[in-house]
């Protein structure tokens, strides 16, 4: 879908203001950033987190009374997929030292480290190994490693400022101090970071950074990290087994309340099986596919909050889930690419964000929540009403990518953003010559399961790492800190789980008693009788067809 005529006329306005904007950028004359005290009113009035009626208190479980998005509460107030009475726990189908649930970045890093520390590892994952949000990350990974201008001290400050100073200090400390080593680990495994001739890593700014510490591998940083560590995991077939299309649906505890494994569900045969393990690492990632408030999302197909649901039932509290991250720049047009992320690196490289008049209205490197709220304000009729109307009846704003070639030389967009260049070219748009139409999109689960700095939850033997955990990023994550989080805490969780597994010896009698109790609590509270969780996969199939799938829940020779 090339831009239609109506839109081309609007692009001319952008082109008119472009030369002067490029000149200002060259002189480092930026659009003024909001002062700390100016951020609050914009957030309160325009950030989706603050819209009334979109949250409610959870009625049961370890974080009872905590108010979070309706979509997440729906899943927490739901029955198990399995009837505990029907599951045979006497004969495990799999036995291992460490069970890793979810094979994205955190899970894979954890598996490698657990294996290196002598544990036999089973990875159970919902889709294929690497079908994960980690694969989709584009922009980069932070680490304060530029000696002489940056340090963990400034990294720490930036993270707290971005997270509204609510972050867990120990977790932030752990992440920033381990960041350089995490990068070095990836470099040693052969991840191709963009470098200068002498091996110095190229780094750039991201929203909310005070130093250029965003390392990248062109515009496919996450894919490069994911495919590299996945490949490394495949070099350890003696220690690491992977079962794909077998999501976990329930944690199993032993009679002493320690973790004893998980129930897996074979998506293809419909079987449930018991994987027995003395330590379990939950690395199931985020929840964009819940489409909170009907937002489009950047997340992969399997981002449905399963890990939160399972661990919560097993007694792990949650925090920071009251804030959700909307990425400021998702595609709104063409419709086929709706929701797809346009990395912050475009703004880092100099592209302005513009309204329908081709005018700037926001500094491009505000923290994400502030940037997103400002864009929503510009588009919303309740705000300034300066959005660009799309042919599909939505509103967006311009991201002026052609500026990048003007600032950094012809061909830069093609070289630095090959992935997005191809994507738009398929639809007849050349982003080195034409700007992109964007709008905020549901992106990241800021909070999650409570962990400490060794990734332990309150359940002995149960660990969590990556996007499924909460606290590190406080109320808002900065770009590049999540890839870092999954590598740092994935590695920590792997090593810790292996050590625990070795130290703990025999586990006790496995049970799903906690699931039975949870089901009863639901009944007492009078909620969730008609819902089942975890969700596993979103259903985008045609409702008209679904209505005719009459035998979906029948028992018999066909289901």
């Amino acid at each position: 879908m090339p831009y239609p005529e109506s839109i081309r006329a609007l692009i001319e306005k952008v082109e008119k203001t472009r030369p002067a904007r490029v000149e200002r950028k060259k002189r480092d004359q930026e659009f003024p950033a909001l002062k700390l005290e100016e951020r609050d009113p914009v957030l309160r009035n325009f950030h989706p987190d603050f819209i009334e009626g979109t949250r409610r208190e959870i009625k049961i479980g370890p974080s009872k009374g905590y108010s979070i998005s309706n979509e997440m509460v729906d899943l927490l107030e739901a029955k198990s997929r399995v009837n505990p009475d029907l599951v045979n726990l006497d004969k495990p189908d799999y036995e291992t030292d460490v069970l890793v649930i979810g094979a994205g970045g955190a899970g894979t890093a954890a598996a490698i480290l657990a294996a290196e520390n002598g544990a036999r590892v089973l990875i159970a994952t919902k889709l294929r190994h690497g079908d994960a949000n980690t694969m989709m990350a584009e922009g980069g990974i932070q680490a304060a490693d530029k000696v002489g201008k940056d340090s963990p001290y400034f990294h720490y400050l930036d993270i707290l400022g971005g997270g509204h100073f609510a972050n867990d200090p120990e977790l932030v400390y752990t992440m920033v101090s381990n960041a350089p080593d995490a990068l070095r680990w990836l470099e040693g495994l052969g991840a191709s970071f963009s470098k200068f001739e002498d091996g110095t890593m190229k780094t750039m700014h991201g929203g909310g950074t005070s130093r250029k510490r965003m390392h990248y591998a062109a515009d496919i940083t996450g894919a490069e990290i994911m495919r590299t560590i996945r490949d490394e995991a495949r070099n350890h077939t003696d220690m690491i087994d992977v079962v794909e299309f077998c999501p976990a649906v329930e944690i199993v505890l032993d009679d002493a309340g320690r973790c004893a494994g998980a129930i897996l569900y074979n998506l293809e045969t419909g079987e449930y099986s018991f994987a027995r393990a003395s330590a379990v690492i939950i690395a199931t990632g985020g929840s964009g596919r819940l489409h909170i408030q009907d937002f489009m999302t950047t997340n992969h197909y399997g981002a449905t909050a399963d890990g939160i649901v399972m661990a919560y039932r097993a007694g792990v509290p949650i925090s920071f889930l009251h804030t959700v991250q909307y990425h400021p720049t998702g595609v709104v047009f063409p419709e086929q690419a709706e929701g797809i992320l346009i990395t912050e690196k475009f703004r880092g490289a100099g592209a302005n964000v513009l309204n329908v008049h081709g005018e700037q209205f926001v500094y491009e490197r505000e923290p994400r929540d502030v940037e997103a709220a400002c864009i929503i304000r510009e588009c919303s009729p309740k705000g300034r009403g300066n959005g660009v109307p799309t042919p599909t009846g939505k509103f967006g704003v311009w991201l002026d990518s052609p500026m990048i070639d003007m600032l950094k030389g012809e061909g830069t967009v093609l070289k630095e953003f090959p992935g997005k260049h191809i994507l738009f070219r398929r639809f007849g748009i050349d982003i080195s010559k034409e700007p992109m139409l964007i709008h905020p999109t549901l992106h990241y689960q800021n909070g999650g399961l409570d962990i400490n700095s060794t990734c332990e939850t309150n359940v002995p033997g149960l660990y969590a790492a990556g996007e499924v955990a909460g606290g590190i990023h406080g109320e808002n994550r900065l770009m590049g800190n999540s890839l870092l989080d999954v590598i740092v805490f994935g590695r920590i969780a792997g090593a810790a789980a292996a050590a625990y597994s070795e130290a703990t010896g025999e586990i006790g009698r496995p049970t799903l008693e906690h699931v039975r109790k949870y089901n009863e609590e639901l009944k007492t509270a009078g909620v969730g009788a008609d819902r089942i969780a975890p969700m596993l996969l979103p259903d985008y199939s045609n409702p008209e067809v679904r209505e005719k799938q009459l035998s979906k829940d029948y028992f018999g020779t066909l289901s």
Binding site: E30, L36, L127, G130, D131, M135, M136, D145, K146, V147, G148, K149, S151, Y153, F154, Y156, L157, G161, P169, E170, P180, R184, E187, G188, L189, G190, A191, S192, K195, F196, T200, M201, H205, S210, K212, I220, A223, D231, E232, N235, T237, F245, D294, M296, H300, Y301, Q336, E338, I340, G350, P418, G419, I422, R426, D539, Y540, S541, N542, P543, V545
Partner: protein, 248 residues
Amino acid sequence: MSENAANRSVDDLVPIFFMGKRYMVPSSLTIQKALEYAGYQHVRGCGCRGGICGACGTVYRDPDSYRLQVGLACQTVVESGMHLMILPYYPGNRAEFDIDEMQGTGGEVAALYPEIFKCIGCNACTQACPMDIDVMHYMAQAIRGDIKGVAETSFDCIMCGLCASRCPAEEVQFNVAILSRRLNARHLTPRAKHLEKQVERVAAGEFEESLRELMGKSTDDLKQLYRDREAEPQMTEDDWKPQDARYV
């Protein structure tokens, strides 16, 4: 829900043939969403929905042509009358290796994948690549032992397996490619010295005191420090130095 295939006008439905079976779907949808419109809930053949994971490599044919075409189901818009199938998995050979013990020579790649020499240069792989990678070219580079070349040519590979599915010589191009990229990054590219240095400084506890001091500060003090922190300008080169060097 924005993603839901059914929430749209159905004025121009076109026929597509999914593994031979006919469905009427809106002409503006991608193959992935068209199948959902038809009633499928994908299990295999759907991963990131954004063109980077390689789960939905698709082979299709237009009605009036004998030629096979390829694309990603999440990125390719349906065409009237197309016959298609998604290839969610392709069995491919993979060699295990220990990257620490290697040097990044062409001989090492050839030893792990001796079949590269069986390539007959037919170009079927290049034609099958949905990422427009010149696959045959990187296979030729592998044969010549140009590991850096393979790494660069194959950089955008999403490991979908379509090239291997078309190869008469039974090559597993994508595994040759990732091995070469890893060797190139690890052994043929200089390591980052600043990184090594910073790892040492962290290990020596050089930042311990300043970090612990920050962790002990009140929110108001932190806010003040945050406001006052010096920002590296956008357009500077890598050798920029802050005025206040106390904490670096």
